[in-house]
Amino acid sequence: MSTLQTAFRRRTGTLLRVEDLVTHFVTAGGVVRAVDGVTFSLDHGKRLGVVGESGCGKTILARSIMGLLPHRNVIRQGSVLFEGTELTTMSLKDRQKIWGAEMAMIFQDPMTSLNPVMKIGKQLAEPLRIHLGSSRENARAIVLKLLEDVGIPEPEKRFDQYAHELSGGMRQRIMIAMALACGPSVLFADEPTTALDVTVQAQILDLIEDQCREREMALVLVTHDLGVVAGHTDQIIVMYAGKIIEVAPTASLFSKMKMPYTEALFQSIPKLEDPSHTRLTAIGGRPPNLILPPEGCRFSPRCPYATDKCRTIEPELQAAEPDHLYACHHPVGSDRWSEVQVSLGRRPGGH
């Protein structure tokens, strides 16, 4: 479908449907199960957060959905329906028509994500010229407008500069402008603020949110930081060792979290209401080995509530509420959970 049509279509209903997606890498050391059966869907204009430690497969998930990963030595299964079109079986040529036009992506490190030897303006104009067939002058005008939209001063001057002449925050703004250029219906943001100064992080997140709202664009925000997704998403997916272990609307995840892992993530970020010098709890143990994942529940070796059942039987996703799924034998609030909380000397119940 052409981009113009999408721009005028009413954007409601399911935009993206991911069904049992599997991405495994074949390496010399064994098969790395980076994404291991992920199912979820995303509606038009909604903002989804994907949270997990580094190495849990969230970046690979985002790239698998877009189909950006190399073909060789990769095992993939499952389906990705984008606006009703199956992406996994689509040819590279057809996917290239969607990339940048219908779905766009911004990356973690703006220092390395821009071509060092190509002028900013040319890089920004590229998607316009490829997908919309814009003329040079036309593209230039659109790019200047885009640069203004993402809050870059002196767009005319930036147009002829190179990436190394700009600051990190500025470069991430350029990346955002580049992603927005063709008016995609979904934006994947892969740790967009991790490499930036704390002062700039909030600005960039606000910019992404503003632009999403303005352009009725869906957002998939991938991050390790629960604090980042808290204010900027409608729904959150928590991933661990290549699997979804909890899905919930943002508000209910924070108030009624079910997974011990989510709880651990939550306890590892500082909170405003805590008295100063409160000790943050780190998650014990090492992130799981994706080549030989632990038997049973994959979090069990690091979970304070784990029982023998956890170490042998893998929990299925179950619904706490219609829109809140989790995969745990002893979720937060269960008997086992309270028991351990007491033995740890904590007051059970509530956060």
Partner: protein
């Protein structure tokens, strides 16, 4: 020859830039290396190693190995029989025994065979295979000696330049630039010619000394540059800074802290460099400037058969093949080693 000298210059450059490339080890962010490819690499490494072992073994043992034909009977003076290869004028210019498509242009007298040996014979009736094995002795010796001295001098200069930096670095860099500005082969010819005229008269055979000196001078600048680039990387590492802050002497830091780390790059370079220098000696021989007969080198043998290409191709071609295979084996081995070091560096 010149082109290959430059391979190494730039090769060294490439290696130093890829030293820190850890990306290939992260299975999540990169295309993993197919296991099949790795195993194939190991096989080529073994085959190259085996070939080189055979050549070195033959070169060292040429005077007593059963498969190398040798005899000093024709020489009254033992010193004169430098090649030790039996000659039989009745068997001049015989094609290799397997080359049924080729015939000798010389008359076949009596019951002397039409074809002879694995490689055939040359104009004087020397068995080419045996001569090639004796040639290996000189070619490998010249290559090994030149690269050893080259590494010693060039390595020292590179270490000092990279570690001291500033003015010392600038001076050494300028000297290297000046050396490089002289056309390499002309410089070598000039050096060989210079020693020639000052020490020997025409009748005497040329020794390997001037050739080694010429090749050493050629090999110094690229080695110095490679070592310098690597040294700069390590000179800024924590362990060097720590040693320095503990008051270690510069010479000690260079020898104990930096040298062991620069070693892998130097060893890899020494291997490829040796191949280049063996080829370079051949180029000198091709221009008539290497060790003179009867002492064979591969280059001299190839050059010697040039005029006979039409009637006796094997005189040039057989040593050419041996030279090619040996150089290829050395290059493959060097490549495999550099790959290995690169991975170890990335992990460590």
């Amino acid at each position: 020859m010149d082109s290959s000298t430059l391979v190494s210059v730039s090769d060294g450059w490439v290696r130093t830039t890829t030293l820190t490339d850890t990306a290939t080890l992260d299975p999540l962010h990169d295309e993993p290396t197919p296991p099949r490819f790795r195993r194939r690499g190991r096989i080529t490494m073994w085959v190259s190693g085996a070939w080189l072992l055979f050549i070195v073994f033959s070169a060292v043992g040429a005077s007593f190995l059963p498969y190398v034909n040798h005899s000093c009977d024709q020489f009254e003076n033992e010193d004169l029989c430098t090649t030790h290869v039996e000659t039989n004028p009745l068997l001049a210019e015989r094609p290799p025994s397997w080359a049924l498509f080729s015939e000798t242009s010389r008359p076949v007298v009596g019951d002397a065979p039409e074809r002879f040996g694995l490689f055939g014979t040359d104009t004087n009736g020397y068995d080419l295979f045996s001569r090639t094995m004796f040639g290996a002795r000189n070619s490998l010796l010249i290559g090994a000696l030149s690269i050893s001295f080259g590494i010693l001098i060039g390595g020292m200069l590179g270490l000092v330049a990279g570690y001291m930096g500033k003015r010392v670095d600038k001076i050494i860099d300028t000297i290297m630039n000046i050396l490089l500005a002289f056309p390499a082969l002309l410089l070598a010819i000039f050096i060989v010619g210079f020693f020639d005229s000052s020490t020997t008269t025409e009748a005497e055979s040329r020794s390997i000394v001037p050739i080694v000196i010429a090749l050493v001078i050629l090999s110094i600048p690229p080695i110095a540059r490679l070592v310098r680039a690597n040294t700069i990387v390590f000179a800024q590492r924590e362990f060097v800074l720590a040693a320095r802050s503990l008051g270690a002497k510069n010479s000690r830091i260079i020898m104990r802290e930096i040298l062991p780390n620069v070693m892998p790059a130097m060893v890899t370079f020494a291997i490829t460099g040796m191949a280049i220098l063996i080829v370079a000696e051949g180029a000198l021989a091709y221009l008539g400037l290497s060790v003179t007969a009867p002492t064979p080198t591969w280059g001299a043998m190839i050059f010697g058969g040039q005029t006979k290409l039409e009637t006796a191709w094997w005189i040039s071609i057989m040593p050419s093949i041996i030279l090619f295979v040996t150089v290829l084996a050395i290059n493959l081995l060097g490549d495999a080693l550099s790959e290995k070091f690169r991975i170890r560096e990335a992990i460590g």
